[in-house]
């Protein structure tokens, strides 16, 4: 029997009797990160990286959680478990599971670039690597992130000059902090949606250099936001439009990769900024893991597995319930 197997509750290590990012309630869950498709409510015990715990509390309410530092090891029934930086969002981890010298790594979601907010990805050697593949096609190759930040700031500057409010749609955990960190606050004030605001406060506890922001409230007058940048979660953008007219709306996501706005939703501008590994990063990560077998989950699973096999890799499809399309928190 494999050290980690797929069950109807999620990825399962029978030897330690723990699940990894389960999608049904289980007694004991190892959590890679606090996005909703990986951290669901109803589990008995949540074991996560120490910075992930407050974020889980924010999202899931009062839970029974235990935090481990990156690299710190816990042993359950002879199985050594440790969390390693995944670079995806604050508190995100790859989970390393070792039993009798056999090592498995579950990547969760990851990216290789250092975004300045979360602890950068660290490659972990293993025998079996379970990798995401959200952007597992060669058309997804990110440009240098600093170019994207410059584009965002230029767009903001133009809007501010025209007296138009800039509204950027970004997921509240990860993308919002990443954007906030790299905004040129000399242009104007940064106002965030309350959902983003509370997440920022939680992240600021362990990332003190995250810039300050103003949390939106109904008492804000026109003078607060005429040249401001608003960071809002995508599902709240419509509601904000009425309040901040005239405004220009942008969406920051890896799905903005295509010109012509195929996935641009209702936004006027798209900035290609993703917290997932692009094509070449996925390949680098797999290569660096030295894994003998690779299990590919959420994303372009079939083509990516087929391609890996063409490269001589021992690759398999793994059908999980993690989100992998444009609606996922990425």
């Amino acid at each position: 029997m494999a050290l980690i197997e797929l069950t109807k509750h999620g990825l399962y290590c029978a030897q330690a009797d723990v699940y990894i990012d389960p999608w049904k309630s289980v007694p004991k869950a190892l959590i890679t990160h606090a996005h909703s498709d990986h951290a669901r409510s109803g589990n008995g015990l949540y074991i996560a990286q120490v910075h992930c715990v407050p974020l889980l509390n924010l999202r899931l309410g009062k839970i029974n959680a235990q935090g481990l530092k990156y690299g710190e090891q816990m042993t359950i029934n002879g199985v050594k478990i440790s969390f390693h930086p995944a670079g995806h969002v604050p508190g995100s981890s790859q989970i390393r599971i070792e039993y009798k010298g056999e090592v498995w790594v579950v990547s969760g979601d990851y990216k290789l670039e250092d975004d300045g907010v979360c602890t950068p990805f660290e490659s972990v050697k293993c025998h079996s690597f379970i990798s995401e593949s959200t952007f597992g096609l060669p058309i997804y190759q990110w440009k240098d992130q600093h170019e994207v930040y410059a584009e965002i700031n230029n767009w903001w500057k133009k809007n501010a000059t025209d007296g138009v409010v800039s509204v950027i749609m970004a997921y509240s955990l990860g993308k919002a902090q990443r954007i906030l960190k790299h905004l040129d606050q000399g242009i104007g004030k940064v106002i965030v949606h309350p959902v983003v605001g509370v997440m920022n406060e939680a992240v600021r506890d362990f990332t003190p250099d995250l810039p300050m922001d103003i949390i939106w409230n109904k008492d804000l007058t026109a003078s607060n936001y005429r040249n401001a940048m608003l960071i809002v979660p995508p599902n709240s953008a419509e509601a904000m439009l009425e309040m901040f007219n005239p405004c220009s709306i942008a969406f920051a996501s890896g799905w903005m990769n295509f010109r012509g706005g195929k996935y641009q939703m209702s936004s006027e501008r798209g900035f290609t900024l993703s917290d997932h590994a692009d094509w070449s990063s996925l390949n680098k990560a797999i290569e660096a893991s030295d894994a003998e077998q690779i299990f590919v989950t959420h994303g372009f699973v079939k083509p990516y597995v087929k391609w890996l096999r063409e490269q001589g890799k021992n690759a398999f499809e793994l059908e999980t319930l993690f989100s992998s399309n444009g609606s996922s928190e990425e």
Binding site: I139, D162, N245, R259, G260, E268
Partner: protein, 525 residues
């Protein structure tokens, strides 16, 4: 090349006119004149010949990305665009290099003369040095399909802005500019007034009819013309060329070939003023005109499918090499009318209408919809001039709506290249706050503009870039042709054909209309 590709991507994303113009102007500011000249050639529609087939590029891209053809098809399913997919799968090099557009064009030129195998080698050398955006542009050029989505008007506006040369002059020069032959110096030399003869007359300012005028003016001294619902233009025939001008120095270049060819046959220095209208078997058809305007390329099929007519109101003769002109004499007019009568159905002469009383005129005007007109304009019989003495030119819409609104914002702008122009936002009172309702770009009266400028100087509450939020004190009578429900507006209403009638100097904000008045008006209409 990087800046050029950046402009391409920017224009693909941006739909607002002012931002698009800004992007083009910024580009020409930033690049050398040599690069500018090549960019301008491409922006004007120049396309190089195809050097390789897209299938060859696909094969090369797959090889350099180490993927099989099936993976390309998989990518194409998600990316949709063939050449974009090619460009995106090619791995970028360790670092991209900066090449000028001129260098890139010279590669293309060289490649077209090479053996196909050598061309392929060159492509493989260049690809990794480009960013994805540059590859998207470069690959389209290689296949001879690269085209910029930019209008002639956006281009003239942008070049005018960055060169500080009047837009109309830039437009005339662009019509004579030869892609890949002319230089930017040819385009941007200082004005020597040689273009004066081709420049348009001032477009007439029309004033709103007010009921007080009925008592002041004697209808016997006035006659009327229908004001067709279309684009007001001036055709100018000069030195064997035809220029079609719209308001704000907008030159319609190669947009109405069926009319241009006729005007080539009239005398030099003739200016024909009137209105372009769309035409169907029902007569004037605004939808046809809108569809015609939306076409990027005017082909013979476009001309047949979306026919236009030119309703001629006035024929003038321009003094040689001057902006001055006069109305032609009867003999010349008759000669012109004879000419247009011979051109089957393309032209309609807008006859003057004599009326006995204002009531007669208004009764006629009530049939404006049947005539495909916005209304009527009247002009003085004695001077026989429309718009020359602007105080004698009036325009009445059929019972226009009006509201007393409050001036809220003033934005200094670049309207028509005029940095001193302003845009005024008027609002309505709603409980204790003010809600913006509509914007107006100009006043007909310079004194009023000067008054408002002085007012803004001492009554600015807040500044947002070029926008000034002013004390809500000034009340204006604002007229409009119709009112619609528009959920996208903060006020939920949209006013159409908005004009400032006058400032109400003795009115306070308590005399201004309130939100409920607006909603009542909306429910009535």
């Amino acid at each position: 090349m990087k800046k050029f590709a950046g402009l391409y991507i920017e224009l693909e994303q941006e739909s607002r006119y002012s931002r698009r113009v800004d992007a083009i102007a910024d580009y020409f500011h930033a690049v050398s004149r040599d690069d500018g000249a090549i960019a301008l050639s491409i922006l004007l529609g120049f396309k190089n010949k195809s050097i390789v087939k897209k299938e060859v590029l696909k094969q090369l891209a797959c090889e350099s990305a180490h993927i099989q053809s099936w993976m390309f098809e998989e990518c194409l399913t998600h990316g949709n665009n063939y050449l974009d997919t090619v460009s995106m799968i090619v791995p970028s090099g360790a670092s991209t290099q900066h090449f000028s557009l001129q260098e890139s064009m010279s590669w293309l030129k060289t490649m077209s003369a090479l053996h196909p195998d050598e061309s392929i080698q060159r492509i493989l050398i260049h690809w990794p040095t480009f960013s994805v955006e540059e590859r998207i542009v470069f690959n389209q050029m290689l296949c001879g399909v690269f085209k910029f989505n930019v209008s002639f008007d956006e281009l003239t506006e942008a070049l005018s802005r960055c060169s500080r040369i009047q837009k109309g002059v830039v437009a005339i020069r662009l019509t004579q500019w030869k892609p890949l032959i002319s230089s930017m110096d040819d385009l941007l030399t200082p004005i020597d007034y040689s273009e004066d003869g081709a420049m348009p007359e001032s477009f007439k300012t029309r004033w709103e009819w007010t009921s007080e005028l009925e008592g002041l003016l004697n209808p016997k001294n006035w006659c009327a013309k229908w004001l067709p619902d279309g684009i007001e233009v001036q055709f100018i025939r000069l030195n064997g060329e035809v220029f079609i001008w719209g308001a704000n120095n907008k030159l319609f270049w190669n947009r109405f070939p069926e009319l241009e060819s006729f005007f080539l046959s009239v005398e030099d220095n003739i200016i024909v003023c009137g209105t372009l209208v769309g035409w169907s078997n029902k007569g004037v058809d605004k939808v046809i005109l809108q569809k015609r305007e939306s076409k990027k390329n005017i082909t013979a099929k476009t001309v047949t499918d979306f026919p236009v007519r030119f309703i001629v109101s006035e024929v003038r003769r321009r003094f040689a090499n001057s902006k001055e002109s006069e109305i032609v004499n009867d003999e010349m007019l008759n000669r012109f009318l004879h000419q247009i009568n011979n051109v089957d159905s393309l032209f309609i002469w807008n006859e003057s209408i004599i009326f006995k009383s204002w009531e007669d005129l208004f009764a006629m005007q009530s049939r404006k919809r049947m005539r495909g007109s916005l209304g009527m304009e009247i002009f003085s019989i004695s001077t026989n001039e429309i718009g020359v003495e602007q105080t004698k030119s009036y325009f009445r819409r059929n019972e226009p709506y009006s509201l007393n609104l409050i001036l809220l914002y003033v934005k200094s702008g670049t309207y028509n290249g005029d940095k001193s122009s302003e845009e005024y936002t008027f609002g309505i009172r709603h409980e204790s706050s003010f809600i913006p309702i509509t914007r107006v770009s100009s006043f007909h009266n310079d004194d009023e503009r000067a008054f408002i400028r002085e007012f803004v100087k001492v009554n600015t509450l807040e500044k947002f870039g070029p926008v000034r939020n002013v004390n809500p004190e000034l009340v204006f009578k604002i007229s409009f042709a119709s009112i619609y429900l528009n959920e996208r507006k903060k006020s939920r209403v949209e006013l159409v054909n908005v004009n400032v009638v006058c400032r109400l100097p003795h009115a306070s904000i308590n005399d201004a209309h309130q939100m409920q008045d607006l909603l009542n008006l909306l429910s009535k209409t």
